[in-house]
């Protein structure tokens, strides 16, 4: 309703008039407005802390094998979440696994974003044959079941976390390209973009200073969702035996191997699975929340 937003806009003016809060404070008041940002943010923050401070947080050496202590139950012999099939401490492995899984999620999404955003911007802004070509490429990639393409790429590139990241990055960019393109197409008709042209801005300036910042909200949303998708995709690749090279280990790898023991030592698959689920949940909540907030802040309708 036109009425309500008008009120909100004016409300903000009044609030601002009273005192000019600092950027940090603005940020926090911004966050505290959304439960999903708050919860998602906290989850993601915890995971990131786990990854950064893995050596401090972990209770054991995640690589040390103790064959005599194989498959211990959680809490047994001081192992918080038990041990895996080599007698390695599962908790520590999950803490260290955060590094790899986050790396897979974030770097591959960054790569997809890089490709997708640039192609989407170009296709959306210039249109015409350039758009046709880019969209045909998108169609081509989309026609593959994504996982299949990832499998083929990993097979071609060879195993290893870097290659998994590259493969996932090369597979998942189409979504970003489509979303960015759609946004650019509507944005470029907006008056402020036309205004930028009337003041003589060149295409580069318009694309990167005017259009791109205004596509950020959807990019953040699909990007955070993408991180979750990438983490799960990596787990699936691990399940199919592609990907990580030991002794490195992601959650997906731990989970895929834990599946072999699901009947006798379910904790081996449950905890890494939970780690994945919680992380994906965190990123999704964060993304959703950020979208809701930016939408209500900057848009009128």
């Amino acid at each position: 309703m036109e009425y309500n937003t008008e009120i909100i806009n004016q409300t903000e003016i009044e609030i601002v008039n009273k005192k000019e809060p600092g950027r940090v404070r603005k940020f926090f008041s911004f966050i505290s407005n959304s439960k999903s940002v708050l919860i998602g943010g906290v989850i993601v923050l915890i995971i990131i802390i786990c990854a950064l401070f893995a050596p401090v947080i972990s209770t054991h050496d995640p690589y040390e094998m103790q064959m005599s202590d194989r498959l211990l139950e959680p809490m047994e012999k001081g192992h918080l979440l038990g041990t895996d099939h080599y007698g390695r401490d599962l908790f520590s492995r999950i803490v260290y696994g955060a590094r790899v899984s986050l790396k897979v999620g974030m770097v591959s999404v960054s790569l997809s974003l890089l490709i997708g955003v640039i192609l989407g911007l170009v296709a959306g802004y210039y249109g015409g044959w350039l758009d046709s070509i880019i969209m045909r490429i998108v169609d081509i990639v989309l026609s593959f079941p994504v996982l299949l393409l990832a499998i083929a790429l990993v097979a071609a590139l060879g195993p290893g976390i870097e290659n998994v990241i590259i493969a996932l990055g090369l597979v998942y960019w189409t979504n970003y390209a489509r979303i960015v393109r759609a946004n650019v197409m509507s944005l470029k008709e907006e008056e402020f973009i036309q205004a930028a042209r009337t003041i003589g801005s060149n295409d580069f300036r318009i694309i990167f200073f005017n259009i791109l910042p205004n596509c950020l909200a959807p990019i953040i949303v699909v990007g955070t969702l993408g991180i979750g998708i990438a983490i799960v995709a990596e787990a699936t690749l691990s399940f199919l035996g592609l990907g990580i090279q030991p002794p490195e280990s992601s959650w997906g790898w731990t989970l895929a191997f834990g599946m072999k023991f699901i009947r006798d030592a379910p904790h081996l698959s449950i905890y890494p699975g939970l780690a994945i689920m919680i992380t994906v949940l965190g990123f999704n909540l964060l993304g959703d929340g950020v979208r809701d907030l930016t939408d209500s802040k900057l848009k009128r309708k």
Binding site: Q10, V16, A195, T198, L298
Partner: protein, 329 residues
């Protein structure tokens, strides 16, 4: 050519001649062109320096398209646009950039025309950055100067568009148009999105600025009372064509074209006493994709004659300084 113009005291700033914009209509698997939407169909007018030309018309009559062609946001299909005698409809690259400085635009929707993620300061600095004008300090000075000029507090410089009310946003939009010291400002429905009390504030501002900077306005609106207030001359558009062009007084006191007449009469007035008899046109504006043969207005014209259905009336000077395209004259 110049000789003729020099006789007049007024110097033409912008001359538009037979300007057209046709959007193709395609059909079939291979996108064959089967017709065209004639959004603007042969527009000719001149704006003199320091003058305000108002263009009035209902939505879809092509007034905004015309404005965007003049400022080169969209390419014209045909016709010439000359700014101070220089043809600008086909220049590109550096030359175009140089010309762009001279023509600026104020948009209809003050919210949509401001980048929501930029602060006011950034919005106003941008044109100078683009053209590399001045040093950072000069630029900032200019920004604050302009803010003062359009009646905004300097402290607003770091705020984002959503923190302003509609009127304030439009002031920012006006300030942006002024940054590059343009010769011509095209104002496309600059006040139609604003509340009445704010509307008058902005109109006043535009008039003040015109005086101060010796600006020339091309003022596009659908609101007759606004155009009556601000314009020197008024062009009335209907279906991509100008049907009447005259000095304001002549146009409002003695409208020649039946459409102009209807338009003026249709506007509701506050006067409660001696209400005039209104002319209520029947039907809708025809689609520009399929304009009627002959005079485009004949389908709704209360004075339509047989000839109107057959022949397109010529746009001619009916009385001195009053041009009309109507078979009645």
């Amino acid at each position: 050519m110049l000789m003729k113009e020099e006789k007049l005291i007024k110097q033409p700033l912008l001359e538009v001649n037979n300007l057209k914009k046709h959007f193709p209509i395609t059909k079939g698997i291979f996108s064959k062109e089967v017709g065209a939407v004639k959004a603007v169909d042969g527009l000719s007018f001149t704006i003199n320096k320091g003058e305000t030309l108002g263009i009035v018309g209902e939505s879809g009559c092509g007034k905004s398209t015309a404005a965007r062609m003049i400022i080169r946001l969209i390419e014209s299909s045909e016709g010439s646009i000359r700014l101070e005698g220089q043809e600008i409809s086909e220049i590109n690259g550096k030359k175009l950039r140089a010309i762009r400085k001279d023509i600026q635009m104020v948009f209809q929707d003050p919210f949509a025309s401001l980048n929501p993620r930029w602060t006011v300061r950034r919005t106003l600095l941008e044109p100078m950055k683009v053209y590399g004008i001045g040093k950072q300090r000069d630029r900032e000075e200019k920004v604050y100067d302009l803010l003062n000029k359009v009646g905004l507090d300097e402290s607003y410089a770091y705020r984002h568009p959503h923190e302003f009310s509609g009127g304030q946003r439009q002031r920012i939009g006006i300030a942006r148009a002024l940054v590059l010291n343009p010769k011509l400002i095209i104002a496309d429905e600059p006040v139609s999105a604003l509340d009445i009390s704010v509307q008058s504030q902005v109109i006043n501002l535009l008039q003040d600025l015109q005086e101060e900077y010796d600006l020339t306005y091309l003022f596009i609106t659908h609101d007759l009372s606004v155009v009556e207030h601000i314009a020197d001359r008024v062009a009335v558009m209907y279906l991509g064509k100008i049907v009447e062009l005259a000095d304001k007084e002549k146009l409002f006191n003695n409208p020649l074209h039946p459409y102009t007449e209807a338009l003026i009469s249709a506007a509701p007035e506050v006067e409660t006493e001696n209400k005039k008899e209104r002319i209520i046109l029947s039907g809708d504006v025809p689609s520009p994709a399929n304009p009627p043969k002959g005079c485009p207005f004949h389908t709704r014209c209360p004075k339509a004659m047989d000839i109107c259905k057959e022949e397109t009336p010529k746009f001619k000077e009916t009385f001195e300084g009053q041009y009309t395209a109507c078979h009645l004259y």
